[in-house]
Symmetry: C2
Subunit: 585 residues, 2 copies
Amino acid sequence: MHPVLLRMSTLFLRTLRDDPADAEVPSHRLLVRAGYIRRAAPGGFTWLPLGYRVFRNVERVVREEMDAMGAQEVHFPALLPREPYEATGRWTEYGDNLFRLQDRRGVDHLLGPTHEEMFTLLVKDMYSSYKDLPVSLYQIQTKFRDEARPRAGLLRGREFTMKDSYSFDVDDAGLDKSYAAHRDAYIRIFDRLGLEYAIVSAMSGAMGGSKSEEFLHPTAIGEDTFVRSPGGYAANVEAVTTVVPDEIPLEGQPEAHVEDTPDTPTIETLVGVAQQLFPDAGYTAADTLKNVVVQLVHPDGTREPLVIGLPGDREADLKRLEAQLAPAEVEPFTGFDQHPALVKGYIGPQVLGADSPSGIRYLVDPRVVRGTRWITGANEPGRHVFDLVAGRDFTWDGVVEAAEVRPGDPAPDGSGPLELARGVEIGHIFQLGRKYAEALDLKVLDENGKLVTVTMGSYGIGVSRAVAAIAESTHDELGLRWPREVAPADVHVVATGKDAAVFETAEALSRELVDAGLTVLYDDRPKVSPGVKFKDAELLGMPTIVTVGRGLADGVIELRDRATGEREDVPVADATARVRAVVGK
Amino acid sequence: MHPVLLRMSTLFLRTLRDDPADAEVPSHRLLVRAGYIRRAAPGGFTWLPLGYRVFRNVERVVREEMDAMGAQEVHFPALLPREPYEATGRWTEYGDNLFRLQDRRGVDHLLGPTHEEMFTLLVKDMYSSYKDLPVSLYQIQTKFRDEARPRAGLLRGREFTMKDSYSFDVDDAGLDKSYAAHRDAYIRIFDRLGLEYAIVSAMSGAMGGSKSEEFLHPTAIGEDTFVRSPGGYAANVEAVTTVVPDEIPLEGQPEAHVEDTPDTPTIETLVGVAQQLFPDAGYTAADTLKNVVVQLVHPDGTREPLVIGLPGDREADLKRLEAQLAPAEVEPFTGFDQHPALVKGYIGPQVLGADSPSGIRYLVDPRVVRGTRWITGANEPGRHVFDLVAGRDFTWDGVVEAAEVRPGDPAPDGSGPLELARGVEIGHIFQLGRKYAEALDLKVLDENGKLVTVTMGSYGIGVSRAVAAIAESTHDELGLRWPREVAPADVHVVATGKDAAVFETAEALSRELVDAGLTVLYDDRPKVSPGVKFKDAELLGMPTIVTVGRGLADGVIELRDRATGEREDVPVADATARVRAVVGK
């Protein structure tokens, strides 16, 4: 950006002493208090002058690194026709999250939540041969999603800016390369932005496709939970896979037997009764098989009951379950009346399965392997069955990751026990494969003149969200502390006191610095006390604060590093050179 | 922008030999053919890599000049709540042009067509004293309007980028200064963009306010008609005012008399009969008073008939009429059955007027002044009245500019006869006054501690439209010819032939130029003929074309100026220096 002199006396800025009532997280609170953003609508924020400068700095870093990796910038409309999204099913799958509207002729449109369809059609429109590929295209563009609960300021809004890119390759090896190139570019981007991240395996969810990873910025206020192991495994909690135990031979196992277990609708009560009945068995909750009923809602609106079997010492994690079943959604089940096979509190797998008389599908946790023995419901009130052996006494329609992940669980790659952490998703990279190309018929001629379907990747960075994440990770109790790469100004010059010489020196220094290519925020307000000016400087968070004040009598000004708090006195004559050296410009 | 090397071999680009079927104007045709833009939706275009570079260059020029004049950049959401637009009446007034939608809770929203309301509320939220003013704020942002007929590519789309700014002042003198500062900045912007313009007086229309001027780029394909005089008067045709003739004494004028004028439903037939009846009077169409009925549609949907009286030698100009009556709209009138006072083809003013029994409002052309004498309808089929004197025999409810403006009409400021021209609106500046501040209660304390309503200006530049206007005004029959300030690359290096030395030299030169800070489009395609490469270079329109080809045997390369066609041979050793000198970097 071209260097400018921002004068506090005329800057469109009001710092607030009090936190805004609706701000839940520090970044939201501080960005509003420091006059960087202002709420304009539910989930919609206005960037004020200082905030927009940070935004544009982040945008610049993203753009430079995308250009450097050879991606090419384009720009699509936000208002899009329905048809392409109908062709891929996302018009429906997005559900309430999609903003839909009609134009004056009653034609359906949507506000783009992400642009896979449009990029696919563009490449189809322009390219026809393997020689044209690979190509990676990106845009930095406004996205719209009708979030159920917009929250945390810029972290989850209904309108936000995203860098979305898309790669197009003729084969899987090409996709691997494009994916790796994006992954490397993302690493460089977040490194430059000073944003810590964990790269975690993730589920593809409604996007479809095979492989995906998230860049999560670790923070206690994050919405996403992820795991990591000492040996370097990391995954979104939805994507963690369970270590599968070995199968056990069926031969020689005891017969199943039903027991009266009155008043045992919970695992806790059941374990108590089991221990009374068989004091020597040492039963714990891990020996019970809990069967949880959920309502599955398919994208077309149809509903079906689904039962999940998992060890009784684990809670079901519905977010994990839903991630496996996407694009279907999971709701609480309330239809016991319509399904007499399901005896609430005493459900057992013997009556379940797509092929059973009930027709109710039954999925089990990966720990339920052939030969494992369980205490579970007998499908009668007050009765449970013991020694029910998987693969001998009951079967299942499939395996699903639906149990909670716990600290200390083993990493699936053997790299040690998992710890759980929270994070904010700042980037997401997907190997989409051929889902969109197939739906929209994007084919090219290969070397042998044969039509082949193109394989795609999709890659996103939340640009506005990154601003909040940086604020979140760098602030202290006094205010914001911007890294140099994104700070709205390189230096904050504060003139204190009433001495005309102070203001003359500060003004001259500010102009010199701007001439040298720095952007300067200059607190030239004549009637504001030094205390207020210092408080504002700390709140606003420029990386270097230069105070021109009492020291001027001794021929010095003070430089302060906002991040470390370090101070140094510098002779006035050396001020410009010293500030330039500190700033690195 | 950071300098880059754009290789034609990998650039996301396909030039087309044929014009797109739906392109009506040269800029649209060429921007699509040259691979700068591509249609994505009705009235919605995707910027492709070269096009987006031009767009960003225009945006940069606009931003630099807005910053230089002291305006401060902010950025609002596009998805806005209904309430503020309800408060100013524009939720309704915008009619079908506004995209409206509901969120998942059924709450009304709109896609911002322009942001007066939001800026007013922002300033109200932040500022409270005259000391805070003046302030000018701007944004460069995506706007949405549901145009009835999107056309001409980027010139009239449903989604487009606008620089909109707003000034806030405590009094009228301040507004005048802010308005003048914007006007000057616009002059600098369009001068830098190389865009010819006429600054014309305009109507404020639905925006409200007192004074406004348009920056019109003169072009035959323009949608707007404007007038200019030899003495420097210029106005949008809607804003032209008629020179009002002097009043004539009523005394001594002949009495009105009704005559049979069978079969004279048109002015032409009426004049013929009048000349037969009174051969000595020398009657022409200018002596007749034509009464045109229109249907007025108010913003709240109510309709009323309205009659306009104007000299019979002039056609009614419904766009001019509508501009005066905004925000009401004008439709053809079809309700003769419900209004027996209106005798089709024979309407006279004697039965008209808000206070007359018919209650139908009657507005007249400014030429209908007191004492003028007219032939007009007698409100009976086949009869007209002669010598009907304005102010004696009929009255009117108001005066309105509704007659066509003709070449040769006198300029209202006495600066000579008007000529008519067509243009595209590239900028519009408004003195809004206090309309929005009053509706949204934006007041500040003045020097005396008294609350005063703030006065506002609103100023717009169509950024995406400017790209099209530049293409429109600079192209030739071979293709685009970008001015240096906005060209997607500074220079186009074309390597021709099959000689490896040619490609090595071209590659080395391209890299040197990029290192020197130039952006280079390099045609490195190995198997494309020189003829195709030259055609592409002319179509794509970089200002300087460097050919490395046959001349290399003699140690020279060729520089060509795309705009003038001038060529010069330059020794290879001097190439970088010479190109830098020509480009000015």
